[in-house]
């Protein structure tokens, strides 16, 4: 081994790392396409970082100029519209992909020992991605940004004892304004991406250490695969992941080019105006369930329910501790996950129609 690659290898051992994790890695027999979804999400995250950095070249992070700078990106900066639409559309599809990944993992029982920590870091990633989406929402400083942030931050007042203080801490004052914008910008471009990258590396390392869970088989409790057995990762799964990543890109580009307003209601084209409350302000589709719940039950109860839901999500591996993984072998867990899924979909649809 010689040359620059050899020099680097003697110091980092990258060839061995590459061999162990890619060219000579093996996956359980019967592994299906669901495995690729995680890699699609990693790709989507990388795409967000790349397009986000490009947008930072032209975005002006000040409330007085943010809306105008976004307008400039969309109409004057060469291919600015393309980069911004990819950033916003891929973010929405990524959130949808995360929900699908979460429910597939829950229904296939892949969170069970020894993968509890992988599940917990995955749930943490979901919350951080929602935080990313929410903080990114405010940055264009449109009517939608301003009022949806007002609605979302106002919901913190129902936290017992410290509710009002929490609202003011998040907003940086009594009302949504310049301090809120600066907090969101810091969270969106520094705090959350750094945290996300860190947790993502941990999540992937845990997933690699335990290996992917084989597809659940009725009546069997297998949760791993013997070393050396299984299907070679390269080229079979490299191609499989590649196919799904291309499909994801096609989905993003199809909406970017042919349905550019899919995720942009009318209010997102108007500059923020604290003195003009638009009717029917709603958060993005992935938070509609949280928007709809307090409209149907008392607000404090809705906060308790959301707390229970999030706690239950993180605690799932410790609630369903039996060895069985097939959905039909653990009907109580499957029913609860399906009920949660139905509740999420119903609340989202009702929130959309409200």
């Amino acid at each position: 081994m010689s040359g620059a690659a050899g020099w680097l290898d003697r110091r980092t051992g990258w060839r061995d790392f590459f061999r162990r994790h890619f060219t000579e890695a093996r996956l359980p027999v019967g592994s299906d396409s669901w495995l690729s979804l995680g890699w699609v999400l990693v790709f989507a995250f990388a795409l967000q970082i790349a397009t986000g950095m490009l947008l930072l070249l032209y975005f002006v992070p000040a409330p007085e100029q943010a809306f105008e700078s976004v307008g400039r990106i969309m109409s004057e900066v060469p291919y600015g519209w393309f980069v911004r639409l990819i950033h916003s559309h891929a973010a929405n599809w990524m959130v949808l992909g995360l929900f699908v990944h979460l429910f597939h993992t829950a229904l296939s029982g892949s969170y069970k020992a020894p993968r509890e920590l992988t599940w917990i870091t995955g749930c943490l990633l979901l919350l951080m991605v929602l935080g990313m989406a929410l903080s990114g929402y405010i940055l264009p400083w449109s009517q939608l940004s301003y009022w949806a942030t007002t609605v979302v931050t106002a919901s913190f007042r129902y936290v017992p004892f410290v509710g009002q203080e929490l609202v003011e801490w998040v907003r940086g004052g009594e009302l949504v304004g310049a301090p809120t914008f600066r907090r969101a910008f810091m969270a969106h471009v520094a705090l959350l991406p750094a945290g996300l990258a860190l947790v993502l590396v941990f999540h992937l390392a845990l997933a690699r250490r335990a290996g992917p869970a084989p597809p659940p088989v009725r009546g069997r409790t297998s949760s791993g695969t013997a070393p050396g057995a299984g299907i070679p990762f390269h080229p079979r799964f490299v191609l499989k992941h590649g196919i799904q990543i291309v499909l994801f890109l096609m989905l993003v580009f199809a909406t970017v080019f042919f349905a550019p307003h899919l995720f942009s209601p009318l209010e997102s084209f108007l500059a923020a105006d604290p003195f003009d409350t638009p009717p029917n302000v709603k958060p993005e589709w992935y938070l509609l369930w949280a928007y709809q719940l307090p409209r149907m039950v008392p607000e404090r109860l809705s906060l308790v329910l959301q707390g229970v839901a999030v706690t239950g999500l993180f605690a799932l591996p410790f609630l369903d501790r039996g060895p069985a993984r097939h959905p039909l072998d653990r009907p109580a867990a499957t029913a609860a996950v399906l009920l949660a899924l139905v509740a999420l979909v119903v609340l989202t649809v009702l929130g959309y129609l409200a």
Binding site: T221, I243, F253, F258, M296, G322, D329, L350
Partner: protein, 278 residues
């Protein structure tokens, strides 16, 4: 095979059941109309008093949620008709023709001011019975439509009342600018339908409309012709930008088709490579 069920499952089940039980409640949305006693009572009255309700439902006021009390005052939540239409509740009733401009001008401030400063406003102050807001805009009762000069300013409706030398040729010029405005609106809509951000263009079109409408309500040659000249120029600029936007939108779609086609070919190649690797 043993299965252990943790007690916390019960809590999760309660959560899910509560959600499911609460769902039907969402269908009971409040109907804003049902809250107005003006509407519920007048609908049951004799023809003359009932007819404003269906007319109002088709009006621009209903579209923008300006209900009866928005113009006539009163308390639309009061069940008793006398109390609802009492002086204490701020009931205004119908204005006389001399009060009309002040009455509508509460909301339509700019137009009312323009009217007062113009030919008809001056005549009104001198006690001449001239056309006021309702003469043109309520010719169809409470079915007040959005500002549509082509329907309001017709040769049949206003052959005499304009303070201009040649009302018919003035109408023709107004209609020509209006046609340009409609064509511009259609062009802006076409660009918007293809995914372009046309809020700025639409705002420009609306500003041009508001500007020449203000001048037109002065009803005098001195104001109308310059206003029409400016409106023509502004609308032409908005229209040409909208045409450029639509061209860009079409171009983007063509790029999109090429990009998707390339990705499709990459996809097919990957699928074939995967089959070959089996």
């Amino acid at each position: 095979m043993t299965r252990r069920l943790h007690p916390l499952w019960g809590l999760q089940l309660v959560w899910a059941l509560l959600l499911a039980a609460a769902a039907p409640g969402a269908a009971q949305l409040l109907d804003p109309e049902a809250e107005s006693t003006c509407i519920t009572c007048h609908e049951q009255e004799e023809e003359e008093l009932a007819v404003p309700v269906p007319e109002w439902r088709e009006s621009v006021h209903a579209l923008h949620e300006v209900s009866c009390d928005g113009c006539h005052g009163g308390d639309p939540r009061e069940q008793d008709a006398d109390l609802s239409m009492s002086e204490e509740a701020g009931f205004l009733d119908n204005p006389s023709w001399t009060e009309m401009t002040d009455y509508c001008g509460v909301c339509h401030e700019g137009i009312a001011e323009s009217y007062r400063l113009g030919y008809l406003g001056r005549n009104l102050r001198e006690g001449v019975r001239v056309a006021t807001c309702a003469t043109c805009h309520m010719a169809d009762g409470h079915r007040i439509v959005e500002s549509r000069p082509e329907e309001i300013l017709t040769a049949e409706r206003c052959p005499h009342c304009l303070g201009v030398d040649d009302p018919q040729s003035e109408l023709a010029r107004l209609h020509e600018v209006r046609a340009l405005e409609l064509a511009t609106a259609a062009q802006v809509r076409a660009a918007g339908d293809k995914g372009m951000d046309v809020m700025g263009l639409d705002a420009g079109r609306r500003a041009a409309h508001a500007s020449w409408m203000l001048s037109v309500h002065r009803f005098h040659d001195e104001f109308i012709e310059p206003a029409l000249r400016v409106a023509r120029a502004e609308l032409a600029e908005v229209r040409s930008t909208a045409i450029e936007y639509e061209r860009r939108a079409d171009e983007r779609r063509r790029y999109g088709a090429v990009v998707l086609g390339a990705l499709g070919m990459l996809l097919v190649s990957l699928v074939l490579m995967r089959r070959a690797s089996k």
